[in-house]
Symmetry: C2
Subunit: 110 residues, 2 copies
Amino acid sequence: MRARREALQAADPEFSLRRLAQRVRVEPSYLSKVERGLEAAPSEEKVRRLAEELGENPDVLLALAGKVSAELQRIIRRRPQVFAELLRELDEAPDHAILRVVREVRDGEW
Amino acid sequence: MRARREALQAADPEFSLRRLAQRVRVEPSYLSKVERGLEAAPSEEKVRRLAEELGENPDVLLALAGKVSAELQRIIRRRPQVFAELLRELDEAPDHAILRVVREVRDGEW
DNA sequence: TGTAGTGTGTAGTAGATACTACACAGATGG
DNA sequence: CCATCTGTGTAGTATCTACTACACACTACA
């Protein structure tokens, strides 16, 4: 995350830690610690703002923060049994197999 | 949950609120409040013990507690992008469609 | 009629979470 | 040389989470 920000900063001073912190609405010192992993991860809201600013995938950044988005949790909680089974089954499946399922569903092959 | 316990209690006094609370390792007054939804849901550990005692599906009970098991969260966090896509796509799919995927994976059709 | 069980209400709390506030030291440019 | 930028260290804190402790009122039964 730090690397990502520094890369952007090289091209645009708007990505200094302080400026970014302001846009994300946290204290610079806090962001500094978060970037270096000294502080526990921020809330989902702040992580999302960070992802947006840095052009990163929110789900990935949330995962780095040790979280799963509230939205995905809601999806699972609506039908805990089916989704629990599905996830446990797919835990060891390769990425491409999972993505194949996604495509099949998307293309309406049901 | 209360209904479930009371059903079991009718057949076996070991399922009184107090006895059950003791086995689950919480205070009876706390369990009472949880059963009536007056108190925020207990920790995953207690919910699991409750599920075991009541013969309920842990994932379902966790869902009622507004939670998703740490195990499932880990699975998602390992590969946030694929699983996020998958879950969002399957959110509106009918149960049988999801279970079909589970069976296909299980039967090794990959 | 006491004692052993039942569920419940009130009050308090240790520890975690998610931060803020502010001071400080070093680099840079006018 | 000082004003302004940079990142960082220390300290403190409000809010939430997940409970415990204990007293109370009721019922049953011996």
